[in-house]
């Protein structure tokens, strides 16, 4: 299973991880052989990379923190909420609570797992997928902070709906590439718009609603709408302000503009204490895999390997599958090295597809 940018994907390659398409439906399931038609379709909906099976490496079984089924369920619920709000300014809270409950339950069970898959979203699904990813990352951070189940549920609900106010803005505004100061002001209204919807909604805790209101506040007081600083900002909102930006950075959107986790960490840390609460940032940074599953790396011993599993305790020490020796010869079969057990090995370079 390797991450291959769409422009390098060739007919005949086999999908290793399902592609979620329009409306949260599985577009291509695992094991499907790609043909020209699929490639064209994927380009149209803005998918930029795929997890592809590689016969020189063998199959990679990786347990994601959340099952595909639950992920889809939450994506669907989020889409329904957004559609309903657009039409009726109201939504079904029962569906949200059930989805959030399922998500948190699964995350609590898989607490030894770590988020280690590169997310390949289609441009059309960006909003929903982003909401779900932000929620997963936020709950994981909450778990690391020692939250109990009830708090995790409130946090998850707030994270999932944090951008709900966006729906209330004129759609043409969101499609614009450059905004006038006036339009910008309008966009900056979305936290308050979202808060107004959630505040009035029975069954949504005020703590969750505050995430929508405060997720653009910054730790040093330079954010909006109220310019709150430090602990004036709710802890939930301080978490979501980190996880939402992180997900936007690593998500591979149009043009494959995503960065790798270690690069995202660099960028986030540059704003530690400015935009972000340093303590929360620290907890978050330690809960994510630095080398995601599916990327190809060069080891200090000169061997080429694929990252096949992540290690929660040591985020920079994954299991790697050595498939090419130092002399450039493919190994048949490959073998794995658990870097957590073998400290003398380390990753010296992340290889791009062109290097292979």
């Amino acid at each position: 299973m390797r991450v291959i940018p769409l422009e390098k994907v060739k007919p005949g390659m086999v999908i290793e991880r399902p592609v979620i398409g329009l409306g949260g439906k599985v577009l291509l399931s695992r094991g499907v052989k790609i043909d020209e038609r699929y490639i064209k379709r994927l380009k149209e909906i803005g998918i930029s990379a795929l997890y592809i099976r590689d016969d020189n490496i063998g199959k990679v079984e990786y347990d994601d923190v959340v099952s595909e089924r639950t992920r889809l369920e939450v994506i669907n619920v989020t889409r329904d909420v957004m559609n309903n709000i657009r039409l009726t300014s109201d939504f079904d809270i029962k569906g949200v609570n059930k989805a959030v409950d399922d998500l948190v339950s699964e995350l609590l069970i898989s607490k030894d797992l770590v988020v280690a898959l590169v997310d390949m979203r289609s441009a059309n699904e960006k909003g929903f997928v982003h909401a779900v990813n932000t929620t997963v990352l936020s709950v994981i951070t909450g778990m690391a902070l020692g939250y109990n189940r009830d708090r995790l549920l409130q946090l998850a609900c707030g994270a999932l709906l944090h951008d709900i106010g966006i729906i209330m803005l004129p759609p043409e505004l969101l499609r614009k590439l450059s905004l006038s100061p006036e339009e910008n002001k309008q966009i900056m209204k979305h936290p308050e718009l979202g808060f107004e919807i959630l505040r009035k909604k029975e069954g949504v805790s005020l703590l969750s609603a505050h995430v929508a209101l405060q997720h653009h506040e910054k730790y040093d007081g330079s954010g909006y709408p109220r310019g709150l600083s430090g602990k004036e900002i709710s802890e939930f909102a301080r978490i979501v302000s980190v996880t939402a930006i992180y997900d936007n950075m690593v998500g591979v959107g149009i043009g494959g503009d995503g960065v790798l986790p270690h690069q995202a960490i660099e960028r986030l840390t540059a704003y530690s204490g400015k935009w972000f609460d340093p303590d929360i940032l620290q907890v978050f940074v330690r809960s994510i895999a630095i080398f995601p599953v599916g990327i190809t790396v060069l080891l200090n011993t000169g061997e080429t390997a694929l990252v096949t599993n992540a290690n929660k305790k040591f985020p920079s020490r994954p299991v790697v599958r050595v498939f090419r020796n130092r002399a450039g010869v493919n190994l048949n079969p490959p073998f794995e090295i658990d870097l957590a057990r073998n400290p003398e090995y380390f990753i010296q370079k992340i290889l791009k597809d062109d290097d292979l």
Partner: protein, 401 residues
């Protein structure tokens, strides 16, 4: 049979054939041959009956088994891997294993591993041992043909010296209350004189154990530098154990080493620090060594532990200035040798202390192991294809939250 095959064609293909033949002759299911290298090991040949890419259980386990055989330099016989404690934590099949180190000129150069289904009444073990002996000569040759031309150039003795030198570095990080420690050495192709040590000192006055951190660099390269490093290590350990203040430690080391150093016209730079856990205090002195970087966890500010002192071997009697610094939660101290800052990229630019500081700052929220891996990654990506001309060593101390 093995001998004849190797005489005809000493190549990887032949070793693959040997693995297969060994399996057939001993009615076993898997066989592998490994080469030991300065850093790590390389699989030379592998054969697994009914092996497939869909089940890498034996292939994965084989790495751990061969590593343990070469590290311990002793025969390994396991009746059933599945129930053997040594390999708990790795997925194991219910097979027996025999691992024999391959030795040439008194050092381990590789190993052969055989996996079998039945019980061994000694016949298998004897058979594998015999093959290991026959493989020795051929493998010794392969080791120097196997990879790059650069390695062919390396003298065999130099490589032995290198492995002894690596074995002198701490194998485990000592556990010290309230801090996390980590270190990495990235050896250059040519043997150098980098050195670091972490020493738990006996403090009889307070009854506390302090941590001594020594980072040094013998000026010069090759065997003389490596030998001197080995001598210095012993002296430093003896002196440091006594929990003296760092300035006295350096004076004492200079006094002990000066005669040997001056007669050879050599010298060594060294930074020595003593960390006191209850006080979270760092006492330190330098003998002409690069000043460590310090990052304040609270503010993210970066500075140097500036101090001055003459390198060891400069004069028979030297005194050093003692400095101290209180550390706070989240503070990170990076000790290093100049290999880190002098590393160059293909256009000749140095990695430089400023880049090191930048990386340290960007990863300050990570745990120490991740910080070390990220610094290594950034450094190696910066260097690209440039050949590393000097050893690179760094030690990181972080005050826990």
């Amino acid at each position: 049979m093995v001998y004849r095959l190797l005489l005809e064609d000493n190549s990887e293909t032949t070793y693959a054939v040997i693995c297969k033949e060994v399996c057939r002759e001993f009615n076993s299911c898997c066989c592998s041959i490994w080469l030991k290298e300065i850093n790590g090991q390389q699989r030379l040949a592998y054969f697994e009956e009914k092996g497939s890419f869909d089940d890498l259980t034996i292939s994965n386990l084989d790495f751990e088994v061969s590593k343990s055989v070469m590290e311990n330099n002793s025969l390994l016989t396991v009746e059933n891997l599945h129930t053997d404690r040594r390999f708990s934590g790795v997925k194991t099949p219910p097979l027996g294993a025999i691992g024999v180190p391959i030795v040439a000129r008194n050092s381990v150069i590789g190993c052969i591993i055989l996996y079998h289904k039945g019980r061994d009444n000694g016949v298998l073990t004897d058979g594998v041992k015999r093959i290991a002996e026959n493989l020795a000569m051929g493998l010794d040759q392969v080791k120097y043909n196997f990879t790059t031309a650069r390695q062919e150039k390396l003298h065999k003795e130099l490589e032995i010296a290198r492995s002894i030198q690596q074995s002198l570095l701490p194998k485990h990080m000592p556990r010290v209350q309230g801090i996390r420690l980590g270190a990495r050495t990235i050896p250059a192709y040519e043997i150098g004189g980098d050195y670091y040590d972490l020493i738990i000192t006996d403090d009889h006055i307070t009854g506390n154990n302090n941590l001594g951190i020594a980072v040094g660099d013998v000026m010069g390269k090759g065997i003389p530098a490596a030998l001197l490093m080995a001598v210095a290590r012993t002296v430093i350990r003896l002196v440091a154990k006594r929990s003296l203040p760092p300035n006295e430690v350096l004076s004492e080391i200079n006094r002990s080493l000066f005669p040997d150093l001056s007669s050879q016209g050599m010298f060594l730079t060294m930074f020595y620090a003593l960390y006191n856990p209850p006080q979270k205090a760092l006492l330190y002195s330098t003998a002409g060594h690069n000043p460590p970087l310090i990052l304040e966890g609270s503010s993210g500010k970066i500075g140097l532990l500036r101090c001055r002192g003459i390198f060891i071997g400069g004069r028979p009697e030297l005194s050093y200035t003692l400095h101290s610094r209180k550390l706070k939660q989240g503070d990170i101290v990076l000790f290093y040798t100049d290999g880190l800052t002098e590393a160059r990229n293909p256009t000749g630019e140095r990695f430089d202390i400023r880049r090191v500081a930048e990386v340290l700052k960007e990863y300050r929220h990570c745990d120490v192991p991740a910080l070390i891996d990220c610094l290594s990654l950034r450094l190696m990506q910066f260097m690209g294809e440039t050949e590393q001309s000097d050893d690179i060593t760094f030690v990181i101390l972080k005050i826990e939250d």
